[in-house]
Amino acid sequence: MANIVEIKNLSKSYGKKSVLKDISFTIAEGQIVGLFGPNGSGKTTLLKTMAGLLKEYSGDLKIDNENIGIHTKSVISYLPEKTYFDKNMTAKNAISIFKDFYADFNEEKARNMLIDLSLSETQKIGTMSKGMQEKLQLIMVMSRDAKLYMLDEPLGGVDPASRDYILDTIIKNYNEKSSILLSTHLIHDVERIFDKALFIKNGTIVLNEYVDIIREDKGMSIDELFREVYK
């Protein structure tokens, strides 16, 4: 299987503070990879660098065999932990933007998910709760037929009742050639979906292993291993 992500010796600093230190890993097509680590470990910085939001870094970062640029942005569907839509916009406007800029956006899928999650197309985003805004962003991101989905804490502000729907949505809406890199603190809720786990600590990858191997060799769930590694 070809790799959709190839990262070699990636380092990133904010001034004198080193946030990512010599990180190397690959993600194959069709894999669902969990990115785990405590606050400040470098998860968000890694995802932002891959998404093209942070430009000054060293090392080799290739997505779909290309350096970060127009092509990688067209194949990545990125969900940041921040809410990024203008507060005066509506879900309808958001659909219009995604439709205009992403050739792989499926408008019908987005509208159906809005109905399933009881979100109005005409309500101003500024009047939505944070959870509703996060749901809307997730809907937009998952309505694309992207090669790589990068989801930063997609369940953070979402109520437990909606989490299963969202997880099912994530699994249902990606095809076997797409890959997912998902960062979360809520390991217990999501560990059933992962093929592989990446543990990051102080900007360094401390574990990069298949979930089945973790379970067989260590006799632990990812949640239990996480607690042991970061205790």
Partner: protein
């Protein structure tokens, strides 16, 4: 993709600018209406005139605040998470911001000119008087003033592009902790450097322009004025291109969306 970006940029700024432009025209209309009624009196006209002036200044402030805030917020703020992950080129992002600012700026300028004409009508200065004035001094002065007007519009556009570049530089990660102060200081340093450069590079033209009283013939006066305007237009074009490329380069090489 550029035109799509331009469409969304215009959508995000037009409302607040259009509202203040309409208020500006209505205020001028009210002044004109009052001037032509039996309630006309100097105090009321004075108050209306003052109010209209404040609204015109307000329109300019709202215009600049809206476009500069949009630039900063949509590229380097939370909305930057969307804009900078769209499959578009950095030059398209910056150019769409500049063109949308120019379009809304021209709209505000036209509304402002309309207001000035309305105000002239309120105080009984007729357009025909102004045309007569131009005819009296000859056609050349009209062309000179037109050139001067174009230079002023171009200088304003370049000033906007310059502030865009300053905002971009201030958002480089090494300036993160003091970006607002750094941006303001940088802007004033650039202003000082520019005035020094102008003084040394085409100071001779400026000297002639500053000493108009020493020029006895009207034609010399006009040609000096025109030379100054032409030199300023060339300078504005060169600086506009430089500031534009600085903004694009920051997004291309130094982007840091917090």
């Amino acid at each position: 993709m550029f035109f799509k970006l331009l469409k969304y940029d215009l959508k995000s700024i037009y409302k607040s600018i259009l509202i203040i432009d309409i208020v500006m025209i209505l205020a001028c209309g009210l002044t004109l209406g009052t001037a032509n009624t039996r309630f006309k009196n100097d105090i009321i006209l004075g108050i209306l005139g003052m109010t209209t002036s404040f609204i015109i200044i307000g329109a300019i402030v709202v215009y600049f605040y809206t476009i500069l805030k949009r630039y900063s917020k949509s590229i380097y703020g939370n909305e930057g998470y969307l804009l900078n992950t769209l499959p578009v080129k950095p030059w398209e992002i910056v150019l769409s911001k500049i063109v949308s600012a120019i379009i809304m700026g021209i709209l505000t300028l036209l509304c402002g000119i309309l207001c000035i004409f309305i105000f002239f009508m309120s105080v009984n200065i007729h357009i025909s008087d102004i045309i007569y004035l131009f005819n009296y001094y000859g056609y050349n002065i009209f062309l000179s003033l037109l050139l001067f007007g174009f230079m002023c519009v171009l200088a304003t556009i370049v000033e906007i592009i310059k502030i865009y570049a300053v905002i971009s530089i201030a958002h480089i990660s090494i300036f993160d902790r003091f970006r607002v102060i750094f941006g303001i200081v940088l802007y004033f340093i650039i202003m000082q450097l520019e005035s020094l450069f102008i003084e040394f590079s085409f100071g001779n033209i400026l000297y002639n322009f500053d000493n108009l009283t020493e020029l006895t013939q009207a034609s010399e006066l006009l040609s000096s004025f025109n030379m100054y305007n032409i030199a300023s237009i060339i300078y504005c074009i060169v600086m506009g291109i430089i500031w534009y490329f600085i903004s694009v380069t920051v997004i291309n090489k130094k982007l840091y969306v917090k």
